[in-house]
Symmetry: D3
Subunit: 207 residues, 6 copies
């Protein structure tokens, strides 16, 4: 006698499944709103959990820092859900260089150490402050910002974004890590040619 309710309502529920989530299928067509959805029946809890931010990143590099993203490309469970994360590790002296996320605002929470974080507004006003453990700071979408280990020990922070694929444009790589000709860089940034060539050498740029 109870079957009717189960029939009627579970029909309803199963048909509305796609409204809940759209785990990204990285091999199917991608559109402006993100990846195509994996078939709901193939989705498991593991699609919604990501372990890639669990380990300390390798900071044996020039910036003494590392960034591990959990964007939709790494963590397809966030596809279409308007949010994503990343992990920042900064060794002593470590720096996340000046960068923007073209499509998202960011909030940082400092979990370990002290981080000097800041951003620059369109009005060319600089907002920066050292953040202690447990403090959070928001970086409005699309603006240049940076994080520097301001303490004497390793620092750890998690950052969240208002988009599953926030993008990341690191200023130095954008300018000096590709084949944008030196004279164009010079004309559009007023930097000296020698400075440009020096950084192109370091960052692998040509032209």
């Amino acid at each position: 006698m109870f079957l009717p309710i189960i029939f009627v309502l579970s029909f309803l529920s199963s048909s509305s499944n796609a409204a809940d989530f759209c785990v990204g299928d990285l091999y199917a067509p991608q559109g402006p709103a993100g990846y195509s959805c994996k078939k709901p029946e193939a989705v498991t809890v593991n699609d919604f959990v990501y372990s890639g931010l669990g380990a300390t990143g390798n900071t044996s590099n020039l910036i003494k820092a590392s960034v591990a993203p959990a964007f939709s490309a790494q963590f397809p469970g966030v596809n279409g859900l308007g949010i994503s994360m990343a992990r920042l590790d900064l060794a002593v002296g470590g720096v996340i260089p000046m960068h923007t996320h073209p499509g998202a605002s960011e909030v940082i929470v400092v979990v370990q150490g002290t981080i000097l974080a800041g951003f620059i507004s369109s009005a060319n006003k600089v907002y920066y402050k050292p953040l202690k453990e447990g403090e959070i700071m928001v970086f409005p979408r699309g603006l240049l910002h940076f994080q520097i280990n301001a303490g004497k020990s390793q620092a750890l922070a998690f950052v969240s974004f208002s988009s599953p694929s926030p993008g990341l444009q690191i200023l130095d790589f954008a300018l000096f890590g590709d084949d944008l000709p030196t004279d164009i860089i010079q004309e559009t940034t007023f930097l000296d040619a020698a400075q440009i060539k020096k950084l192109k050498g370091v960052l692998g740029g040509t032209g």
Copy 2:
């Protein structure tokens, strides 16, 4: 002599067809914004009309009520258009149990009978009232709400949603109609184990 205007402008118009609508192709890839679009040349008026809400639903069940959805899964014409509908039939004593639509606000219009409708806000304030024929009520997105036949005759209502796929999470089915273990339900809802097991029995839940 008139051909030029026809040529120039109809070229324009036909190329902008996709801006108008995107009738869902239920068998093509689905993305965060909805179903892929059926080819415009295959679309007919029947894609924009749905007859599935025309008949009184079967209310011979525990809740003495039925819900017939016209979401994008049933009515692909609303895909991408930010709106959908459903039909509610409530026999005498019928109830649409406590539920949410995770992704949409809802407006109900009572067409026949009297329906006691209400929702609960994040601030734990309850808003409920009996609605007469022709009265409408809005349920803000994502909040728990319910509808009860408050009269002595069959009731009929149509509900509209601010999304083509609003989703539907019925509280009892979510808690007791799946395999969520009793101890987890107990810990997260403070309900007694006996109560949980009783409802799992009724609603087909396991665990």
Copy 3:
């Protein structure tokens, strides 16, 4: 001993109240997203219920029809919630003339009678069909559409919109009910001056 949970969590809940709804305050500043919100503590269930669609409209007019809106201006409870409604009454021979809603898609549900409804796409293709009781039809946002009583009795329908303030541009009023000069209408519509003047006379237009 139980007070702490109440304190901690109710603090949380009450502070997030604004996330739920924003009942429009028609006398405070209005912005691109809608009206300013009424203070949450002044909101009652009556803000979410609207009775203005309950009575049959007066159809003793040229179009033998009436439209009663429940947009945010009439029903401030829908402000910010992405949805609104209206009631259509069509006497025998009644017509809702050709019109658009600049900012919203629409779904119609026929509650009584038979209504011939249709819309015209950007590709100049016409989609129209007589709708019986219980049938629904969607009109994609911004396109010209119309409804005609196609039966031999009074017809009643409710329409829902994907916006709390969908707008309404009735073609004849737009062209002939204002002070747009006849020669501009003529040049931009190819209508004859005599036709324009005749309709300006009927609809109160000048110029």
Copy 4:
């Protein structure tokens, strides 16, 4: 020694590529948010540049005007980016007839000549003015508007839209250029049958 930074950060950057753009693949599935994305590695600068607006349009037609669109169907580089353009050429006496864009606001900039431009609001108020070279005017989304060459020489304007596929519904084509029956047009527009038939004859409509 510098390789580590290159490895870590370029991994990050390449994986976030899809956040930047989604050049439309006109032959892959299309969804409510636009075309599927062309593979990033196949994208070149030519996908972001469009030359189709470079030449004066053919104005030897009834309206003595031409419209060249650069919507996502013609210029797939704008797919997903919330913007598109078109070019308007108006010979002496040329007119862009009364029309709407169902899904976008528009800004016009007059580059050559004088153009009388205007729109009609939902409140049936007309806003129109002659625009000189360098003047701009905005037409809010979905409203009827028009442009007329108001000078004694050829006029040129560029228009931009708040959508990559704004749609275009030209009033005369919508009413008289398809197979909408004369009696339906008559009932929904109050135009005389003779007027309707005359314009159907000119614009190729049937019915």
Copy 5:
């Protein structure tokens, strides 16, 4: 000689300031999109930094847990930026009870301890898993979810939301912590009256 560039460009920049951020003014009118903006000239770095998540919450309560929000009401710097955060502290045996956020998706990152986290989909499928330090999990918008300390020590997690004011509807408070009459709860949840009254007693509900 260099002044002109400063004049022209700084004019531009200062005028576009509002595009960057809109720090909430909690005492000015609020609209559907959030709080009114604080005057840009009064904004300092402290508006973008929040220290309220820095201290361990008081878990001496029934749920042995605490939630500290950094929504726009507590942290006005996130107003309009599409993101917010909260801190979860769970003592041994602590539980964040079953709840929803009506308007946002959530990502949790476990910073200390082990947390059993899960959510229930519209299709009544349960997705849950114990999360270790550094693991993250996403909860799609509007769905019921919960977090339980699954370890033998204090647990700490930070959660981020895809909205500056995600809302929070805790199931038990919604059902039993207000004045929703027992018979309505009974009819809409199938819970026994005794169970309802017991929990109303604990949670302070009346009716």
Copy 6:
């Protein structure tokens, strides 16, 4: 006898006025979605027309170029309408330096002369090309881009944005035109201190 239709329908139309547009009132509260709306009855055609882009800008400055914006701060008619414009004048040798618009995509149309335009993607790929008269190019939202007069005569272009307040962050002003300390710039950009100080001198920066 015709009055009834006028009464019923004009009531409808006037009440939905706010759906059409929201001309910005620069002196009323501003929210995340833009400026408060000017009272509809005070709005005239002049609110929708802007003449500030009509004159050639003063290019007697370091960059030999000028930018005149028509954002919502200058042209309140675009408030809430998802679009805005600007005029670029580039004398021979003129350059619009490397910059981003944090919240908008941009399309440029070259009206006079030849402009070398380009942008850099998150994947550090450079897309640039000389644009001739009538050619258009799109710059996806938030990415670094630039324009250079590549010809031997004055150049003129109009740019459109997918937002009424796109923001503008000019790289050199952001880095060197404020009080961001030299050592922070050095650490986050790898530029030499001498280079930084030189440009701070030119651009008026301190610190």
